[in-house]
Every structure is written in C-alpha cells, then in structure tokens.
Amino acid sequence: MSQEPNTYSALGEVGAVSEKRSLWQRLMLDLRKAPMTARFGMIVILGYIILAVFAPILSPYGEAEVFPEPYAAWSAEHVFGTDQIGRDIFSRMIFGARNTVGIAVATTLLAFIIGGSLGLAAAINQSWLDQFLSRAVDVLMAIPSLIFALVLLSIFGSTVTNLILIIAVLDSTRVFRLTRAVSLNVVVMDYVEAARLRGEGLWWIMRREILPNIMPPLIAEFGLRFCFVFLTIAALSFLGVGIQPPTADWGSMVRENASLIMFAQYDIKAGLTPLLPAAAIALLTVAINFVVDWFLHKTSGLRDEQ
C-alpha cells in the first residue's frame, strides 16, 4: 500500500487490498518506533544472552583455572587481571553471566509458574482456596524477603537448588497477588461465564480464557520480578550465603576482590576491578527496566501527551 504524499485519493486507499502484516513485520515496525533507551536495553540484554550461551567459547580461560600470580594487574594476558587465588577475572565475568543470570531466570520462571497458576486458580475459584492462599500470602509478605531467605538458607544450607527454590517461593507471593488482581477483572467477563456454562474445566478456563487476556501486565511483571530476583541473589551471594565458590558469580566476585578498591590511588585499574561485576549487574537491571518501561507504555495504550 504505497502512496505518494501528494497524490492521495480516497478511492485509491479503499481500492487497495490491505494485507495483514506478518508477526515479523509488526515486530520490526514496533522496534523502529521504540525509543533510544528501549533499543539500548534490548541490545544490552541480547549481549548478555550471547555471553551466557557461548561462555565456554568466548572466555579465554576456564571458570576455575588457577594461574600462579594472584591479584595480577590488567594486562594483555589477563584483561582484567586475576583474583585472590589467581583466577582470570575476565573469564569469570563471562561465566558469571551464565551462572548468575541463568539462576535468576530459572528462579523467576519457577516463581511465575507457582504464583501465576495459584493466582489464576484463586481468582476463578473464589472459595476457601482463595481465602486460604490470600491469607497465607499476606503473612509471607509481612516478612522482608531477604531476611526470610537468610533464615531459610541457614536452615537448609546454601546450595543452588535451595537458593532457587527458596527465592522462587518467596517471590511467587508477589506474582500471586498481581495475577489474582488482574484476573479478577477478567473472571467476571461474559465469555468466561459462557465457558463455564458449556462445562469447561478449571484448567481450560485458566489457560484459554483468562491467561491470554492478562498477558501484558504479567510480561512486564516478569521483567521487574527478574530484576528483583537477580538483585536478591546477587546480594545473598555478596553476603556469602548465596551461590558458593568455585562457581563464578558476580555477587561473590565483588566480595572476593573488594579489598582491591583501596589500591585505587596507586593503580586506578586495580581499584576498578571489584566494581566490574557490580557494574555488570547494574547494567543488566537498568537495561531491563528501560525495556519494561517502553513495553508498559506501549501496551497500556497511552499516547505521548506533549
């Protein structure tokens, strides 16, 4: 449907067959309209994904490969130097993308599976189930999640599985609240009533009637929840009770190399070393926030009011 700007005719427009844009075309159109911040965010996220997937190919050395010189300076051989027992920091940063981000993604997915399905079930079946789950979530949310995670980790021990399970369960409370709140608006719709009357089960109503209609807020929440989970895991690892050595992880890398910061006066590069993994965490969360911001703006249907 190409039109010259000067030769517009209504007849031409009506006569032209409008083709439905393919998914890919719509995606490209959206991307072209996206603001700078969102594009920046998407490029950064893509970069992290590539790093995480191809970590063993991209990193010059192994994850736990020890070299003779601990705390080596930045050089061509070791781009960001080595850490307290002589492991290459650049390689560990790349493997950290795989470990830290991978664990955070797994945790967020699990939190959404638990919280989302329970939230949907509670919204559809507003009986004792809803009451019970909502009160339980109220109590769980009354405990700050970092503190509760610390208690549970001290009881069950800091393994990766425990970490994922504990944070996922604690965070699923917030997913539950959101899912329940947004689906309550959809449950009262006539088409849900119709589905119920024609005898569809709970699972069908959840998956086919309600889920497609509450997707946008859930996707945005997924991004924000991921940031939160990611920061919590990084904080726990930084405190020494999260991901355990020798697994390369950004939070614990900051802690291990923190003392280097005091040498910044003599060698600014050494002072920057402990900040690198922290900056890697910050950059990813900023990028996700930018993309979520744009996504929310797009799906909420608000126009720019200028």
Partner: protein
C-alpha cells in the same frame, strides 16, 4: 465509636495476628531443620548418647508445641535464649545470651537507619516537589533518568562507588565504620557517614519518584483546575493547593521506604563492617547459629510489620473521607 478508631483497632489486631503468624512460621521452619540443633552443634562424629544428652540439656526432646510456648513466653520477658557459639561439649557452656549480643548492635543499626532517614526524607521531598513543579524540564528529565538508574543498582555497587571516590581516591571518610558503645556522637557521625550516605541513595530515588507521582496525580483533579483558572501561579498551586492533599500518600510512601531501609541495612553493614544487627545475622547464618538467626529475623520482621502498620494507619487517619463520615 468513631469509625476511624474501629478501623485502626482492626488494623492493630491484624498486625498482632500477623506478628504471631510470623513467629510461628519462623519457629516451624526451624523445626524442619534436618537433624536438629543438637546434631548441628556437635560434630558428625558424636555418638548417639551425646546427641541425646545435649538434646535433653537444651530441652529439645519435648513436644514442638511445648517448645513453641516456651520460646514465646521467654520472648515476652525479653529472653532471646543463648547463642550456640562458645558451646563446645556438654556442661562447659560459655555461650552468651542472645540478648546481650543483639541489644548493642540493634542500637547501632537504629542509629544508622535514622541517620540515613534524616538526610533522605527532607531531600526526597524537596526533589519530588521541585521536579513536579518544573515538570518536563531538563532538570526533571535528568533527575528522572538518574533515579531510574539508581533504583536498578545493587546496594553494594553504590557502596563501593562511594568508597572508591570518597575513601580511596580522595580520603575524606573512612571505609570501615569503626563504631563501638563508647564512641562520641560526632565521631560516630563521621565514622558512619559513608554507610548512611549509601542507604540514603538507596531509598532516595524511590521516595522522590513517589512524591512526584503523588503530586502530579493530584494536579489532574478538578479543584486544581479551578485554582489554576482563578489565576494561581504554579508555585501556589503546588505548595498551597496540591501539597496539603498529597501528604497522606507521601507519608505512606516514606514509611514504606523506611521499612525497606531496615532490609537494605543488611548489605550496607556488611560492606562497611558496621557492627549492626544485619551483620550479626549474616555471620550467624554463615555459622548456622540458629537462636541468633531466629531472634534477628524476628526483630527485622517486627520492625517491618510495625512500619507497614504505621503507614496503613497514617493513610487511614489522613483520609478526609474517613475523618468526616456522613
């Protein structure tokens, strides 16, 4: 009875019930410990008899319900139990009371948190009001970008950036918060300047954005339109017309952020080796000193619940619709 008092009483009861449930949850999760305290303290090599004897000494051989009531009654009288560290073999008990460990550190933490709050609250109000006043200006945009960025930063990143600049490159403040019970007030301020600054930056962004949003939200209401049409200047509009009605949401936001401050304190204390309750808890988690972990968790949860309750009550009390019932 005035309806507002009824609502507040209702909330207070709910808060106490929540607190009770939280203590129950903490207790139950500790009961789920594989093995139990006795096995956790004694080494793996301990014989069954030794474990049984210690279990008896700690009173762990009784029914869990009894244990819970014992714990609760002790808590009511301020007895938090004994720490596990220093407890080697049976009989030779050199462990310290958890209360003696917690009390001085709790004071330090409260000092740090109030220090941060005293800077952060007025500053965020000022920034929030001015950005609402000069909406869409360059100033507003820069503040918006930078707050969005700091929200995404982990606490320890902010802390180490501050250390890099204010300690390492330009030695103004110390990086280790070397505070004890005898430290003078002003010296204490100096030593805890960096941790307080970090905490300020952590909560500032949120508070500022919420204040701005609360005011801008109000600016859309009809009575503001009326004031604008009758010739009020933007400054009058915000300070005289919008702000009095925005206090309720703003105060709620502040209290909620102070609740977050309580949690943010954990990481910051560890970075600056500040002798507070957060660091105590992290150390106790690492050494699996359950009585200390349990007490610290309860204190954190209690503060968090109380502040949330306070936010709730302030929200109710300042709501004009509830204050003047028909």
């Amino acid at each position: 009875m005035h309806p507002i008092i009824a609502i507040i009483l209702n909330r207070l009861v709910l808060g106490i019930v929540t607190l009770f449930m939280v203590s129950l949850i903490i207790f139950i999760s500790i009961q789920m410990l594989p093995g139990d305290f006795a096995e956790a303290i004694l080494a793996r090599a301990a014989t069954e008899e030794t474990v049984a004897a210690l279990r008896k000494e700690l009173g762990l051989d009784r029914h869990p319900v009894l244990l819970y009531f014992d714990w609760m009654t002790a808590l009511m009288s301020g007895d938090l139990g004994n720490s596990y560290t220093g407890r080697g073999v049976i009989g030779a008990d050199e462990s310290r009371a958890v209360f003696d460990l917690v009390a001085p550190r709790l004071k330090n933490t409260l000092f740090l948190a109030s220090f941060a709050a005293i800077i952060a609250v007025p500053l965020s109000l000022f920034l929030g009001i001015t950005t609402a006043l000069y909406r869409n200006s360059a100033y507003d945009r820069i503040m918006n970008m930078s707050t969005l960025t700091t929200i995404s930063f982990p606490e320890f990143f902010i802390a180490y950036i501050l250390i890099l600049f204010l300690t390492s490159l330009f030695p103004i403040f110390p990086s280790l918060a070397n505070v004890d019970a005898d430290t003078e007030f002003f010296e204490r301020l100096y030593w805890s300047a960096l941790p307080a600054l970090t905490l300020t930056l952590v909560i500032l962004a949120h508070m500022m954005r919420m204040t701005r949003a609360a005011i801008i939200n109000l600016l859309a209401s009809p009575y503001i339109q009326m004031a604008r049409l009758s010739g009020a200047t933007p400054r009058e509009l915000i300070l005289k017309h919008a702000l009095p009605n925005a206090w309720a949401p703003i105060v709620t936001v502040i209290t909620l952020n102070l609740a977050n401050l309580v949690v943010g304190v954990v990481v910051v204390e560890v970075v600056f080796v500040y002798p507070g309750i957060g660091q105590l808890m992290v150390d106790a988690v690492a050494s699996r000193d359950i009585p200390v972990v349990q007490s610290c968790a309860l204190i954190f949860a209690m503060t968090y619940i109380l502040l949330n309750l306070l936010a709730d009550i302030i929200g109710i009390v300042t709501n004009p619709r509830l204050l003047h019932p028909k």
